[in-house]
């Protein structure tokens, strides 16, 4: 088998430029949405006093979870020694960086005062998970970039095990922090649970792998080299394991947390009579996000399965983040409460265009970083080797 | 091994680019108005009821630190000094329009705005703080 080399993604197809143009246009649209929100205020969005976190946060959390999981393949190749995945290692690392940058873009631009974001550094509250996340994310970016450097440059290749192991450990710490964002909140019965840490780690592994799987044929279409079908099948089987574990932990969260009397009404709302939220839970998370991917992987269609997982993932996070907010808080348990403010009633949340555009803008930022990285550096495996020097490990015959 | 050009030849282009950039950075500002009057009063003069806390040149340099100290004391420690509060500054330095009404920060004649526009530093205070003196209706009684 000829040696696998890496090439700049510059040989293809005229397909790349329209893709870049569209991606850039979506980024610009996202910026326009940000300016609208920043200048006019958040009242132009659907996020209200009852539902302070909305669609942008759903997008941001998905991208951040996927960023951590996108390193799966890189870690399999380096830390776990599965050399069959070596050709994908740089792409996987770059994808992690790109996804995290996209997610952070959304989070920062959604702030009420984004010009003050550096205050989290100057006036740190060390008890705040949010404040810890700022450090966890930046260090992750640095470690992933360092790992990429060791893969790209022969002089640093000896540091590859160090950066690889560090990035691997760090992504679990990071995802634990992301899970605890919600897991430490006592304000809602759904949130206060330690299970959010392993749950979000499981989600991260699932969504990250799914995003990578979906992008493999895309990179092939744009002129890179799509891996052997056998590699995709193996990744598909791995995805199936992650999907199953995610499902198990989700059921555990709902069953164990909401089994208690205090959580029963919320469980009932989400699973039975929550309208859109129930539809998203069953249709999005269970069917599209779990059952259909497992079926598709059995049918040897890992890329389609991954696409279904991604849609299911968005639905999952939407239910987690929004359903828990619209459900009334129990201020006086045992009493029936009502007020002009809407206490005791399910709140209404309808996302408006700035939120959707901000979310898609973040996705476009991630895609833009990914494509730019593939154009500037030798990331994508290619058999049309312009440079005879092999950079990655050779695929074993 | 290809012959490398002598050092000067190699560095000529980057050096030229750097020199060109430095020239632009140094010369373009001179196209604007010259600021020889930084120590001269540039704010709109108002009829103050009395002297300010500090002489004007020192106040110009130190008011940010004073405000910062005052806000930390007031907000975080509950130590309030009406003499050095922002409310007092705004009240004393109020500029009135033709109708006798104090102008807000939106107006170019506002005391803070007139100076800050010149030095091109936007203060963030008036997104939250009222930029005109306290009104006299009941809800605004002095504490």
């Amino acid at each position: 088998m000829p040696a696998m080399t890496y090439a700049h993604l510059d040989s293809p197809t005229a397909r790349l430029w329209p893709v870049l143009a569209v991606t850039a246009a979506v980024v610009v649209a996202g910026m326009a949405a940000f300016l609208t929100i920043d200048i006019q205020g958040h009242h132009v969005t659907g996020m209200t006093q009852r539902v302070p976190w909305g669609v942008p946060h759903v997008f941001a959390y998905f991208l951040i979870l996927a960023a951590s999981g996108a390193l799966n393949v890189a870690m399999l190749a380096s830390v776990f020694g599965r050399t069959v995945y070596k050709p994908l290692e740089p792409f996987s690392t770059l994808l992690a960086i790109a996804l995290l940058m996209g997610g952070l873009t959304i989070l920062v631009l959604d702030l009420g005062r984004p010009d003050r974001v550096l205050l989290t550094m100057q006036y740190r509250n060390n008890w705040s998970i949010f404040a810890w996340n700022t450090i966890l994310y930046t260090v992750f970016l640095a470690l992933a970039a360092a790992h990429l450097a060791t893969l790209q440059n022969r002089r640093y290749a000896r540091f590859s095990p160090v950066t690889g192991h560090s990035a691997n450990v760090w992504r679990f710490v990071l995802t634990t922090g992301t899970g605890l964002d919600l897991g430490v909140l006592i304000a809602r019965e759904l949130y206060q649970s330690a299970i959010f840490a392993p749950l979000f780690i499981s989600y991260a592994l699932t969504y990250g792998l799914a995003v990578l799987l979906v992008l493999l044929p895309v990179m092939g279409w744009l002129g890179g080299n799509r891996p052997e079908p056998e590699v995709e099948q193996r990744l598909g089987r791995l995805l199936a394991i992650f999907v199953a574990v995610s499902f198990y932990l989700t059921v555990a969260l709902y069953a164990f947390t909401l089994y208690a009397p205090a959580g029963r009404s919320l469980a009932r709302f989400v699973w039975i009579d929550g309208g859109i939220y129930t539809a998203l839970l069953w249709g999005g998370q269970i069917v599209l996000g779990t059952a259909i991917p497992l079926l598709l992987i059995l049918k040897k269609q890992p890329v389609l399965a991954a696409a279904a997982v991604i849609i299911g993932g968005f639905a999952t996070l939407y239910v987690f983040m929004i359903a828990a907010q619209v459900f009334p808080q129990s201020i006086l348990p045992g009493h029936v409460v009502s007020s002009a403010y809407g206490d005791g009633m399910v709140a209404h949340y309808m996302a408006r265009w700035p939120e959707w555009l901000l979310g898609f803008g973040g996705v476009a930022v991630a895609l833009l970083v990914l494509l730019a990285g593939c154009l500037l550096f030798r990331i994508v495996p290619s058999r049309r080797s312009r440079d005879p020097r092999p950079l990655g490990a050779e695929v074993p015959p | 091994m290809s012959k490398r050009a002598p050092p000067l030849r190699r560095w000529l282009k980057p050096l030229a680019a750097l020199a060109g950039m430095a020239l632009v950075v140094l010369l373009v500002p001179s196209l604007g108005e010259s600021r020889t009057d930084l120590d001269q009063p540039s704010a709109v003069k108002t009829a103050l009821p009395g002297p300010c806390l500090l002489p004007a040149p020192e106040m110009r340099r130190q008011h940010k630190g004073l405000l910062y100290e005052e806000r930390t004391n007031a907000v975080r420690h509950g130590i309030r000094n009406p003499e050095t509060s922002l409310t007092r500054c705004v009240a004393c330095h109020a500029v009135h329009d033709e109708a006798g009404q104090p102008v807000t920060y939106e107006d170019e004649r506002h005391f803070c705005r007139s100076c800050h526009m010149q030095v091109a530093i936007a203060p963030d205070c008036f997104s939250c703080h009222l930029s005109t003196p306290m009104t006299l209706d009941k809800a605004e009684e002095k504490p």
Binding site: G41, P52, L111, R113, S128, F130, Y341 | R80, E83, T135
Partner: protein, 242 residues
């Protein structure tokens, strides 16, 4: 490099640092004299609010109007975009059918979840028990709004005009009832308590650490409870006749 040259450089550095230190410290020394006049935050106080729900008259809403006027916010209604620092909740016991009206505002917890999660320490608990937002540091992430178990924190999503001088509020920051700190710091009562005294007299404000205060006397008369005691928040606001 000869030895005398190195000595000169060290000397120069020392002078530079001394000069720098002097320049940095001097303004601070000047500021100290301005602070001495003020009344320091009462040390040892724990401000508390006691609400006797049985004295709260259902359709009164005097506290809501007073707070709204004092701080310049306007209630819109159905949990939309307007903050509602204090609101009145109608609570019905499903077993007995009894209804009470409960004014609900920031509970000023001793273990405030909002202050725990704030990344910039903008939301903080003062030494005297009042939980408030230092809007200079707030980045508008709304994590505190997510974290409050009572839904009494709000995010200002629009430009604010005609702010109250004593209650600066602005777009992009979080806010909540601050127990009228600008009044409390000058020895006055919060606006809601003042307004209630004229109608039902359901609210009592005072220093929980002062055994001779009115609030302590009222607490001794009738047992009071906090909302959601299971959360162990040790709120400064407690309710009687709930």
């Amino acid at each position: 490099m000869s030895a005398p040259e190195r000595m000169d450089r060290r000397q120069a550095l020392k002078t530079a640092f001394a000069g720098l230190a002097a320049t940095v410290l001097a303004p601070g020394l000047m500021l100290v004299e301005f602070g001495t006049q003020a009344k320091a935050a009462a040390t040892g106080s724990r401000w508390g609010l006691l609400i006797d729900v049985s004295r709260c008259q259902g359709d009164c809403a005097g506290c809501v109007e007073a707070c709204s006027k004092e701080h310049g916010w306007h209630a819109e209604g159905r949990g939309g975009h307007e903050p509602q620092w204090i609101r009145v909740i109608k609570a019905t016991d499903p077993v007995t059918g009894q209804t009470s009206t409960v004014p609900l505002m920031c509970q000023h917890c001793a273990n405030p979840p909002c202050a725990d999660v704030c990344p910039t320490t903008a939301t903080f608990r003062r030494a005297d028990g009042i939980v408030l937002v230092d809007k200079h540091l707030c980045i508008g992430c709304r994590y505190c709004v997510m974290a409050c178990p009572f839904g009494v924190r709000f995010f200002q999503g629009d430009d604010v005009q005609n702010q109250r001088t004593n209650s600066p509020r602005g777009k992009g920051t979080a806010e909540a009832c601050n127990m009228c700190v600008h009044r409390v710091d000058h020895g006055r009562l919060p606006a809601c308590v003042e307004a209630c005294a004229a109608t039902g007299g359901a609210m009592t404000f005072g220093d929980l650490n002062d055994p001779d205060s009115a609030i302590r006397a009222a607490l001794a008369e009738k047992a009071a409870a906090r909302l959601r005691p299971d959360l162990a928040l040790a709120q400064g606001v407690s309710y009687q006749s709930l």
